[in-house]
Symmetry: C2
Subunit: 419 residues, 2 copies
């Protein structure tokens, strides 16, 4: 007789490798038909779980599940929806248990960032309190790389590879045109609170004068005068200046620089666009022509240039999450444990969810140079393994051939529930 | 005894494959040491030629020249510098001939877009007039794909592949988040006068409802009401809406939409950012949360996702240019001739420079759907071959391993010349 069913849900901003985790988990489950029943997925994450909108992944072929390994985004849908404390949202937690009961779900996998690990931990607690037998396993995911305990977060390595590649390529472009045209190039990348992605831009540079020349981290308050002086120094020495800037860059008072961007044609505050704000500042103060790029979703969806290390880790975490569940390990999260920097070696470890939930990991100060404008060798040693290796998807008609699953719904057994 | 030397110069905005053309040309020259001397390159394009700032490519190893095939940007530097008519700029044309004489240059290769083909043609005329024996060959290059006669322009196919890939990837991302988060995504791409790159975004879609849902071409005056209605229709039918927009989008009066973007914090007109303008318009009218991306230089420098067809064509055009020169074919440009759409087959042809110079090729009306918001099957048939095939560069330490040449200067023989 098969064991209990499982529920897998994706949470928060998606990445280019979160489906590799789903792939690893579902493949591992299919290797144990005697011990685990069906793997259901929440349609649009935890909202699907709450509304009993479940996807039956057993209807997808082995071949299509394998294709998840190289398909970006959340194949079952994700959502931005945070369950609050059990006291405030008790009905929601109880509803989850009700859905689990109705569909004979004994394993719950929540694949997300900080908030999701907190939710997973709370679900494990309420199940225990209500006497419902459930094994609850969190699985890390976030391009922000800000989860504690784990060496890194799946999704980050591929964004890192994308931004470093893009910065190197744009840097070559600007260098070859700078004499008569654009002298300033600014690339704006993600990272509201932590500068990990901005730091990754720095990997593009391997020697004196190579792009990027300046990095602007959210951890370092923006000082326009020091910045402008450094830009001018770069233009004088190298003929041009390239800048990587975090969307979360703040001034000394903690205000987002992007929000200083004035009003648009419709009278609204300009959101985002810190890249343009700093580029325009250079134009105003120094007169140099600029270009700027806003990578936005392109960076976290760029599966075509994913890091093989990142894909391998994402897949292995999915597999291990399933194994931990089968071993009855409740309220845990598989992690990446670093064994060596160069060459990078890693293995999977295990953390207690309560030690992960709601802890945000920032860049260590020793990863940023004393002047605040670049990364240190210690930072390079940390980052370089995470972008190692290529794992291109198959192409068809000149474009990446990503899978679109059937995502057939499981028949509902309960009444409606408003979220 | 070796033949005359050659001068090769890159011109205008660089691409991810212009160095593949340089590679093909220099490799072909090295196969004929009995018929052609050294290949010099103008440092920063025609400015290097005018100022006698020449690079001796014979000092680069065969291995490094081979690496040019997969290195984006202009390896010898390019410039935005247009020589005007011979009457206005006669001294400059005469100076060029003087530099050619001083360095025994009998072959001049100018690798660029419309303006450059015009310059190449004028140089061929003045050489004849002054009785200086010169074979002058233009070589096409432009991501804008707006040169006449040739089937396509080297550089465009790779940008096309990049924007279609990026649109597909971002589309997957948005689809998976749309229920509770971003419903609108806008990708702004290059193309001031012609919508070729915007059209290429459309290749990401292979069926009803797939991104991109709407394309905004510079050829079609922007009608905000029709646009907003279509966006709302997409959100209702598919749950989200993705848009590809050309930087050159104009209103019915011919004004650039980007310039309607209001003032920034410093009181300056906001340049660029048409993507944000249309995204914000959606937010204002329909209230949907948006994200937007500005690919900027990332698109034309993205050698990591170059089209193999494009790379092969760029390389073949460089080889053929050299062969045409050795055959004494003055004032011509090698072209791409299309033999079949599917599968795409092509060969190299030859055009007279005077038929290419200053003619701009726009998108044919039959390539845009009747509603103005997407591409037709005829357009797909034209585009699909151009993005066919992958040709990734080698990677080192997780990043593309592009070459930086020595670019040693040739000893000057003439006095200074102001440009």
């Amino acid at each position: 007789m098969a064991g209990k069913n499982a529920l897998y849900a994706q949470s928060g901003g998606v990445t280019s490798v979160i489906n590799a985790t789903a792939c690893g988990l579902i493949q591992a489950a299919r290797r144990h038909p005697d011990r685990i029943g069906k793997v259901f997925a929440g349609r649009d994450g935890i909202i699907g779980a709450l509304t009993e909108d479940l996807i039956d992944t057993s209807l997808e072929s082995d071949a299509d599940i394998a294709r998840l390994r190289y398909t970006p985004s959340g194949a079952f849908g994700s959502c931005r929806y945070k369950l609050k404390g059990i006291d405030q949202h008790k009905a929601q937690y109880e509803r989850l248990i009700e859905v689990f009961k109705a569909h004979d779900i004994g394993y719950f996998f929540y694949n997300g960032g900080n908030d999701s690990m907190d939710t997973a931990w709370k679900v494990s607690q309420i199940a225990e309190k209500l006497g419902y037998p459930l094994v609850c396993v969190g699985i890390p995911k976030t391009v922000d790389n800000d989860l504690p305990v784990t060496d890194c977060c799946p999704g980050f390595g591929s964004v890192a590879k994308y931004v470093a590649t893009s910065m190197r390529e744009a840097g070559f472009d600007v260098a070859s045109m700078a004499r008569t045209s654009t002298k300033i190039f600014v690339l704006e990348v993600m990272g509201r609170h932590a500068g990990w992605i901005t730091a990754a831009c720095g990997l593009a540079s391997e020697g004196e004068g190579q792009p990027p020349h300046i990095l602007l981290f959210p951890e370092i308050p923006f000082d326009p005068e020091r910045f402008i002086a450094r830009v001018q120094e770069c233009v004088e020495r190298f003929g041009y200046c390239t800048v990587g800037v975090s969307e979360g860059l703040c001034d000394a008072a903690g205000n987002l620089i992007a929000e200083a961007g004035g009003k648009d044609a419709f009278g609204h505050s300009q959101l985002g666009g810190v890249g343009q704000v700093v580029a325009q500042l250079i134009k105003d103060k120094l007169g140099h022509k600029y270009h700027w790029a806003l990578a936005d979703y392109l960076q976290r969806a760029a599966r075509h240039i994913a890091s093989k290390t990142d894909v391998d880790q994402a897949h292995a975490l999915g597999e291990r999450a399933l194994e931990l569940a089968l071993a009855g390990r409740n309220a845990v999260m598989p992690t990446i444990v670093r064994l060596a920097d160069t060459p990078y070696r890693w293995e999977i470890g295990v953390a207690d969810l309560k030690n992960v939930a709601n802890v945000e990991r920032k860049m260590p100060p020793e990863f940023i140079t004393a002047d605040g404008f670049h990364i240190t060798d210690a930072c390079r040693a940390y980052l370089c393994g995470l972008i190692e290796g290529e794992d291109p998807p198959p192409f068809r008609n000149g474009l990446p051939d990503y899978v679109r699953l059937k995502n057939a719904a499981v028949t509902k057994k309960l009444g409606e529930f408003k979220v």
